[in-house]
């Protein structure tokens, strides 16, 4: 049942997370599965990164200094060049109702902290497979594997 080690090979992801330890954990997991990642420590940095780097998916924390996840999500969605990039919220806001808020705000996925490598990659893959623009890609990559 364990996902293929190279399942995210060829994928480019932007991770926006202010907590260095968490950023480290996420980075290690994604690297393990072969993804190419860029990181930013707040929304503003994330926007700056998006100018030089166009990821397939953005994984963003919500509570961050300078520019939080809500504002970041809103800005991305209202910037035509990058509005198509799906955003997945990765947050410690795991109270009942927080998921609904995030989905309503425009995030296409929602993963709660804390994460384990297994649950995180499973949830991430679920989101990616469900997303319309990635369906074919998984089909081909799955067939390659």
């Amino acid at each position: 049942m364990k996902p293929n080690k190279d399942i995210l090979k060829g994928w480019k992801l932007l991770i926006v997370e202010d907590e260095p330890d968490n950023l480290d954990v996420i980075g290690r997991i994604l690297n393990h599965f072969g993804a190419t990642i860029e990181t930013a420590t707040d929304g503003k940095e994330g926007l700056a990164a998006l100018e030089r780097f166009t990821p397939d998916v953005i994984i963003s924390d919500i509570s961050m200094p300078v520019m939080d996840g809500w504002e970041f999500c809103y800005t991305v969605q209202n910037t035509p060049a990058i509005a198509h990039i799906p955003l997945i919220a990765l947050t410690a806001h795991a109270m009942l109702g927080d998921r609904e808020r995030a989905l309503a705000a425009g995030f296409s996925g929602y993963i709660t902290k804390p994460i384990t490598p297994g649950t995180f990659i499973t949830q991430l893959l679920e989101h990616l497979q469900m997303h319309p623009s990635f369906k074919d890609r998984f089909h081909s990559s799955a067939s390659q594997a």
């Binding site: 968490n22 947050t91 410690a92 109270m95 009942l96 109702g97 490598p117």
Partner: protein, 656 residues
């Protein structure tokens, strides 16, 4: 209600029409009661008095008239007596009437002297006349008569034909003498043959007649007696009010005169010759062929009545005044307290609660005023109490409002605190679980058994800590009403498969059999909150695995009518009967001791039950200690987004 409005609503005594006021009616009644008896009695008294006065007056008049008549008769009698005495001296009259011419002259002279002497001595007789049967005056006391003829005088024929010699001629007016004449005659008979040979006539003094009549003693101011001639209705004696009617062309008439001259005596009330109302007595004096009238003006006779009537009028006026005064006094004594009471009531109605009605006198109205005051006291007390209570309630309300605001603020702070807590606890846990997870996955190289064991202990304890945090935060959120359920489409069959894969590892770890049975009748598309429903199922399943050491855990999804059931049955330790009551309460486990064999916060079932109730469902448990338990969640079967009518069995939750 404003004060002005209160005053407007009260009907003040000034608004009562005067004719309806008690005072007016009492005054009217008093006057009526005072005047009517007085008037009735007065009328009766006046009638009786009038009658009495009439009777008395008539009686008096009758007596007077009788007196006058008697005096007339006496006067006439005296005169006739005198005449008879004179005629006793027959011899000298015979000589004068029968002697020869020469002797006769001498004899006549004797008679003339004799008669002159008698006429002088008797003032009642004016003069004597001796005439023969031819009416030739033979001799007279007044020598002017001698030689005249009297055969044309009214009395001549009567005197010579008088049946019993004596004759009284009713008075008449002698035009030649211009005087009223009353003549009494007596026949002189021949001494030898007893044949009438002449008549001796005496002219009476009619002034005496007048004197008798003019004597008005007892006749007051207007009373009078007079004689009216039967010859042609003229006055024989002077009237008080008319000139003495010695003229033939003055005829006086009245009921009394006419009746008397017709020979009827009587008395009655009539208008006299002047047309003035009189009370009169009338009688016919046959010897004088005259009417004797005794009359008095009714105005004088009844003057007493007028006086009485006048004094009665004053009495009535005084009585009315007194009655009115008493009425006013009475009315005021009744109506003023009522009026005062009305004024007081009006003031109280306008909000002047301290007003009280004055208590005057000691009567029913006083009692009313006292009762009214008592009522006003009670009212004041009640209103004061009410004021206090309203103030108290207002104060209590203020306190409640403040307390409520504090509670809401506290709830908001709690909620905020929980959200922050959740976030702040998860953040370090993410690093712990993340790193230990990576280590256990071997991303960063293999560990020896010792390190792996310790890392997995860290990992599992972190997971326990995370679950504890989740449950505490969830129940807090549910209790503060901040949980919103979504309603989206889901496939219960797919959900069951998902749950199976999620908890399958637990069955593997404990070596238990895990059976999933899904009713084929269960629709493939239902509406609800799949995340929360999953939370319910996973809660029950993880409990079942936790408390079961061997045997089977069965998940069963069944469609029963308009609801569907998620049942989780195990072959675990079961639940004692007494514990079934509280296993759904927060922080309760069957074994609450510190040495209990199973971990957990005791919040799982509490959260489950609350979520089920929020979804409009029910949860029940059936268990036998030592043999196992079965938890059954029943949820409404919602096949469309359109709200359905409540099935009665299961109520729909309110949609967010």
């Amino acid at each position: 209600m404003t004060e002005q409005a209160a005053i407007d609503q009260v009907e003040t005594s000034q608004n009562v029409p005067i004719r309806n006021r008690i005072s007016f009616r009492l005054i009217l009644t008093n006057i009526f009661l005072a005047v009517v008896p007085v008037a009735l009695i007065t009328a009766l008294v006046l009638a009786l008095l009038t009658n009495q006065i009439e009777t008395d007056t008539l009686s008096d008049l009758d007596a007077l008239a009788g007196q006058k008549a008697v005096r007339l008769e006496e006067w006439l009698d005296a005169n006739t007596t005198t005449l008879r005495v004179v005629t006793e001296s027959n011899i000298i009259f015979n000589n004068a009437l029968t002697a020869s011419n020469a002797n006769q002259t001498i004899a006549a002279g004797v008679v003339t002297r004799y008669l002159g002497q008698i006429a002088e001595t008797d003032p009642k007789i004016v003069s004597f006349i001796l005439y023969d049967l031819d009416g030739r005056v033979i001799s007279a006391s007044d020598q002017r008569f001698i030689g005249r003829l009297v055969n044309r005088q009214p009395y001549f024929a009567n005197s010579v034909n008088a049946p019993d010699d004596l004759h009284i001629e009713p008075p008449f007016f002698d035009i030649s003498e211009n005087a009223l004449v009353l003549v009494v005659t007596d026949i002189i008979e021949d001494l030898e043959t007893d044949e009438p040979i002449g008549v001796l006539a005496a002219y009476l003094d009619t002034d005496t007649l007048s004197d008798i009549m003019i004597d008005r003693t007892g006749l007051g101011e207007t009373g009078e007696t007079y004689l009216v001639s039967g010859e042609n209705n003229y006055f024989l004696t002077p009237s008080r009010f008319a000139a003495q009617g010695f003229t033939q062309n003055r005829a006086y008439r009245s009921t009394g005169i006419d009746s008397a001259l017709n020979g009827q005596d009587g008395e009655s009330l009539y208008n006299d010759y002047r047309g003035v109302p009189v009370i009169g007595n009338y009688r016919y004096i046959a010897s004088l062929d005259s009417a004797l009238l005794t009359e008095i003006n009714q105005s004088e006779a009844f003057e007493v009545i007028e006086t009485v009537r006048l004094s009665v009028r004053y009495s009535v006026l005084i009585a009315m005044a007194v009655a009115a005064s008493v009425g006013v006094w009475n009315a005021l004594s009744i109506s003023r307290p009522i009026s005062d009471l009305t004024t007081t009531a009006t003031r109280i109605a306008s909000g002047k609660l301290e007003e009280r009605a004055p208590r005057l006198g000691n009567n029913e109205v006083t009692v009313l005023a006292t009762t009214f005051n008592t009522m006003a006291d009670t009212l004041t007390h009640t209103l004061t109490d009410l004021d206090h209570k309203v103030t108290e309630i207002a104060q209590a309300n203020d306190k409640l409002r403040v307390a409520n605001a504090k509670v809401r603020e506290a709830a908001r702070l709690k909620s905020e605190f929980l959200a922050n807590m959740s976030h702040e606890l998860r953040t370090p846990l993410n690093a712990i679980i993340g790193f230990t997870g990576i280590m256990l996955e071997g991303f960063s190289g293999e560990m020896d058994d010792e390190a792996r064991h310790m890392t997995s202990r860290v990992y599992e304890n972190s997971q326990n800590l995370l679950r504890l945090i989740n449950e505490v935060l969830d129940i807090a959120k549910i209790e503060s009403g901040r949980l919103d359920l979504v309603r989206t489409a889901f496939d219960p069959h797919a959900l069951a498969r998902q749950w199976q894969s999620s908890v399958g590892i637990l069955a593997e770890q404990k070596g238990l059999r895990f059976v999933v049975e899904v009713d084929a009748k269960l629709p493939k598309k239902l509406y609800g909150d799949p995340e929360r429903i999953g939370q319910l199922a996973l809660n029950l399943l993880s409990n079942a695995f936790k408390f079961t050491d061997s045997g089977t855990v069965t998940l069963n999804l069944v469609n029963i009518g308009k609801s569907w059931c998620i049942s989780v049955r195990d072959t675990g330790i079961g639940i004692p009967a007494h514990a079934k009551e509280y296993i759904f309460d927060e922080f309760r486990q069957v074994d609450g001791s510190s040495r209990r064999a199973y971990g957990g916060t005791g919040l799982g079932l509490a959260i489950t039950r609350k979520l089920v109730l929020m979804m409009g469902g029910t949860i029940s448990v059936d268990s036998e200690p030592g043999k196992g338990s079965e938890f059954i969640i029943t949820l409404p079967l919602i096949e469309s987004l359109e709200p359905r009518e409540s099935s009665g069995e299961v109520a729909l939750p309110a949609l967010p």
